[in-house]
């Protein structure tokens, strides 16, 4: 079944196909452009000759006897009536013509040139050797380009030019491929070596084609359309043209046709062969289909994103994968993924039949592909794969025995690999447990959105099902969500609470109180079932107690909340402080990190899920709404804000007045205009901050928008003050909006005006509404940031990709050095301090805390 090859590749040589090799490897000589006879059978000596391989089911290859699957295809060849230049080698041919004598074929120099020098005792590495010698060959070629007289035979050398793509001119006289070939043949093997080719594998005259290899039909299969018509591959079309012209050329030469006709046909043959190799040469029109679409010939098959390398070799497609839209479900665990039923019935997990599970798997086969949970395929021990259908079902049920493999439907608890592009992180691909759900979208816990950078505005994600025991084990141990809570970037948690769950926990731990029954109901609904804890609850339960019910009984923690106040957990009880973004949030949740360090990933993930749901359930019970009225300000505060802005306005007016009277003292290094600008900006920015402060201190604590801002769930006080009071200065590239060609931003202003209003200071808030000119200024910055984002994202993505490919195979060796794939040292100690950042707290080791912990115990 499996073939093992006990050979190791020692060396690889690239060379050209010489005419002898082409003839030798060929299995058929192509003589006719016809493809099929009247019965639709391939013509002997045609381009679809059965000796070149088979693409029709039922036919057998005449060369190897294999059928459709077995035969890989065989090359044929075409004898050309006249030699033709290979376009892709035109530059090299030119080089050879210029560097050698037209008469004696010797290199145009008397100096001895050796490309490979004898290097001391130390062995030179082959790649160094190669790079050095090709560099030298280039230098030699350049130095000999303009030699006028052959130093060996004294023949005068004429300048050879190339008229793109394949015409060679010597002093305006055209050189025919026959002449060129004759010249190249004269060059000795040593001279070929000196010009950078290895004559054993690449003689220069091979760059002029005498025979054309005809690729096997397997690389240019024809497609049968629904109408029964056959549509040939582009390459077959092109080869047909070549064969036809070649045939006509033969006939004309044999019939002794005039030289002009022969030359014309020869040029046509050259054109067809040129476009056969490369149909994107700029000097000649591309060969087209009858529909006008350009043919996709050899080099286009290899090149670019849709070519063989980037499309087929670097970007292979896989089976056992699914892709759909994602949607949130906070009721499933963090390490689960909701899989739609349709997907679960299509994707399968192979399960090997043993004595012990025979009955169970028989039931799966019995249910078949249409009832869940059933199975789609049965694999026989001989490797045959059988689809379970109504016809095959009974037979398969009967023969099922240990050694068979059943591909059963995906079920709850199976391991799946979940991914969202762009996969910039290792956390962009994580393993989840399957949870089969109704609906048609993948479901994921919103807490895992952050590492995937996912939202639900139409994002799609991919799901892969590992098919071997080893792959499943590896995914489980290395990739499951709980193993990824702490990022390797800086040792902080990437998975944490966000948005509503932060608001909920904040409100709960701040000053909420529930009745005993409510509290137990709340905790029970999120999956906390700790009767011992519930028994301790009094008639009214404090929010902190409810929160603490999730924590382990022996957990101690001291940290800070977002506003730098102490948060203390003692023996599993939150005794001081409120929970917010700084303790349970993403990227900086100190509490989560402490839990993770103390109780391990699995327990932390479980608690995290509960914390998340707790926050949401609290909001559900308590009620939480943010609305436009949140931006309402009391009259006195409104007046204060207005006053602050008015003062700033007046202050800028004063500055302008001073400047006009030339009383404004210039700041060091600035002209008086620049001083005015800098000072105005400072005043306006201060005004903006002042307004923010007024609102922050106004005592509007019970406002939903402010609660969200303080707890770190969403938005900031700045956002609030922009809505309710003043949007502030609109900045474009760090400056105020600049005056245009006519010395002003808008025609309603006078020329050279530098008042706050004319330079884009928006003194209204969004709720009050912007004046038309303010709106315009705001639109300027809005458009700029939109453009900026649209242009920067792809650029930075590309830079990141290049960085990754530059660093991809660096690794830390056992001696802590950083080495590349060849074991060259890149860094003598990893990071120069040898620290594993993923084990640190934001890049630093907190020695004090460690000492305290050890001494405390």
């Amino acid at each position: 079944m499996t073939e093992y090859i006990y050979k190791k590749i020692n060396a690889l040589v690239f060379g050209m196909l010489g005419p002898d090799i082409v003839r030798k490897q060929a299995c058929a000589k192509i003589v006719t452009p016809e493809l099929y006879d009247k019965e639709g059978y391939p013509v002997d000596g045609g381009l679809m000759d059965v000796r070149l391989g088979v693409i029709d089911p039922g036919l057998r290859c005449k060369t190897c006897g294999g059928n459709l699957r077995e035969c890989m295809g065989h090359f044929g060849f075409l004898e050309l009536a006249r030699p033709v230049i290979h376009v892709q080698y035109a530059d090299i041919i030119l080089n050879f013509l210029r560097c050698t004598c037209k008469d004696c074929g010797k290199l145009l120099t008397q100096k001895k040139i050796e490309l490979t020098e004898e290097v001391g005792e130390e062995e030179q590495q082959p790649e160094d050797d190669f790079v050095a010698s090709s560099k030298k060959a280039k230098a030699v070629a350049n130095s000999l380009r303009n030699v006028k007289k052959c130093p060996h035979c004294g023949a005068k050398q004429l300048a050879v030019k190339v008229e793109k793509p394949t015409n060679f001119l010597e002093d305006d006289k055209r050189l025919s491929p026959i002449e060129i070939r004759a010249r190249l043949e004269k060059i000795s093997d040593e001279d070929v070596g000196r010009l950078g080719l290895n004559p054993a594998f690449a003689r220069p005259e091979w760059m002029i084609l005498n025979v054309l290899p005809v690729p096997p039909v397997t690389i240019r299969p024809s497609i049968t359309l629904e109408t029964g018509e056959r549509s040939e591959d582009d390459l077959t079309h092109k080869l047909g043209d070549i064969v036809r012209i070649n045939q006509r050329l033969f006939e004309n030469i044999n019939a002794g046709a005039p030289e002009i006709i022969v030359e014309d046909l020869w040029d046509l043959l050259q054109y067809h062969i040129t476009t056969y190799f490369n149909n994107e040469i700029s000097q000649i029109p591309p060969a087209r289909h009858r529909s006008g679409q350009a043919l996709r010939t050899l080099s286009e098959r290899i090149k670019s994103k849709e070519g063989r390398f980037r499309h087929n070799l670097a970007g292979k497609r896989v089976n056992y994968a699914a892709r759909t839209v994602i949607s949130p479900d906070s009721k499933i665990e963090l390490n689960e993924v909701g899989v739609p039923m349709v997907v679960a019935m299509e994707l399968t997990v192979p399960e090997r039949v043993t004595e012990w599970n025979l009955k169970r798997l028989k039931d799966f086969v019995q249910r078949g592909p249409k009832t869940y949970p059933g199975s789609n395929y049965v694999l026989r021990p001989d490797g045959k794969k059988k689809k379970i259908t109504d016809e095959t079902q009974e037979q398969l049920l009967e023969e099922l025995q240990p050694g068979y493999v059943v591909e059963r439907h995906l079920m709850d608890g199976d391991i799946a690999i979940f991914n969202r592009q762009p996969s910039l992180h290792r956390m962009s691909i994580m393993a989840h447990r399957v949870r089969v759900l109704q609906g048609k979208s993948f479901r994921l816990n919103p807490a895992t959105c952050f590492p995937y950078n996912a939202d639900f505005d139409g994002d799609e994600m991919n799901l892969h099902i590992p098919q071997t025991e080893e792959a499943r084990a590896e995914a489980e141990v290395l990739m499951e969500v709980q193993t990824q809570i702490i990022t390797p970037k800086n040792g902080l948690n990437v998975i944490g609470c966000s948005d509503d769950s932060i608001t909920g926990n904040y409100l709960l731990t701040k000053d909420l109180e529930f009745s005993r029954e409510e509290a137990i109901q709340l905790l029970y609904s999120i999956g906390v079932n700790k009767p011992e804890r519930f028994e301790k609850f009094k008639k009214n339960v404090n929010g902190k107690e409810i929160f603490s019910a999730i924590l382990p009984e022996d957990f101690d923690f001291i940290g800070n909340s977002k506003d730098k106040k102490l948060v203390v957990v003692k023996k599993g009880y939150l005794v001081e402080g409120t929970i917010d973004k700084a303790t349970i949030g993403q990227e900086k949740g100190d509490l989560i990190r402490a839990l993770c360090a103390r109780y391990g990933n699995d327990a932390t993930l479980d608690m995290l899920g509960k914390l998340f749901r707790l926050g949401i359930v609290v909001l559900l019970h308590h009620g939480f709404t943010t609305s436009i009225s949140d931006t309402d300000l009391p009259e006195d505060i409104k007046a204060k804000c207005k006053e602050a802005i008015y003062n700033a306005d007046r202050r800028v007016a004063q500055l302008i007045e001073q400047y006009e009277k030339k009383e404004l003292e210039s700041m060091p290094g600035l002209s008086s205009e620049e001083t005015l600008e800098a000072k105005s900006m400072e005043v306006l920015n201060k005004a903006r901050t002042k307004v923010g402060e007024i609102i922050a201190e106004s005592g509007l604590k019970e406002n939903a928008t402010i609660i969200m801002a303080i707890s770190g769930a969403r938005g900031s006080l700045m956002n609030l003050s922009m809505m309710s009071a003043c949007v502030g200065q609109q900045a474009l590239r760090g400056k105020r909006i600049e005056n245009g060609y006519r010395g002003r931003t808008l025609t309603i202003f006078s020329q050279g005006e530098v008042t706050p209003r004319a330079k884009g200071f928006v003194k209204h808030g969004y709720k009050d509404g912007l004046t038309p000119d303010e709106f315009f200024m705001h639109a300027i910055t809005g458009r700029d940031s939109l453009m900026d984002l649209a242009l920067r994202t792809p650029k930075s993505g590309y830079l990141y990709r290049r960085l990754v490919s530059a660093l991809q195979d660096l690794k830390i060796a056992y001696d802590e050095t950083v080495r590349d794939a060849n074991d060259n040292i890149v860094q003598f100690t990893y990071g120069e301090d040898g620290l594993d950042v993923s084990k640190t707290e934001g890049g630093k080791i907190n020695v004090n805390r460690i000492v305290k912990e050890i001494m405390g115990k």
């Binding site: 001696d815 050095t817 060259n824 040292i825 003598f828 100690t829 990071g831 120069e832």
Partner: protein
């Protein structure tokens, strides 16, 4: 062109020290490497001007590091 001042004394130029043959062998043994696996420094590097370097010698560079205050780096002298 002659430089107007001694660049090795500039604060941005780290200290370059030539290793003796003995130290070189110890270094190579320590990391279990051949001389080719070391990072390189050009023989014409201005910082090596006073050291009179030869191809194949190893230069120790002691420089400031944001993570560990000072760090040692080794480079083998190469030509071109």
């Amino acid at each position: 062109m002659e430089t107007q001042f001694n660049i090795t004394e500039h604060f941005l130029v780290p200290e370059h020290i030539k290793l003796t043959e003995e130290e070189k062998t110890i270094l190579l043994n320590k990391y279990n490497i051949t001389i080719k696996q070391l990072p390189m420094i050009d023989i014409k590097d201005p910082a090596l001007k006073d050291l009179n370097p030869k191809v194949g010698e190893v230069i120790k560079i002691v420089r400031w590091s944001p993570t560990s205050k000072t760090t040692e780096f080794y480079r083998v002298v190469v030509d071109g």
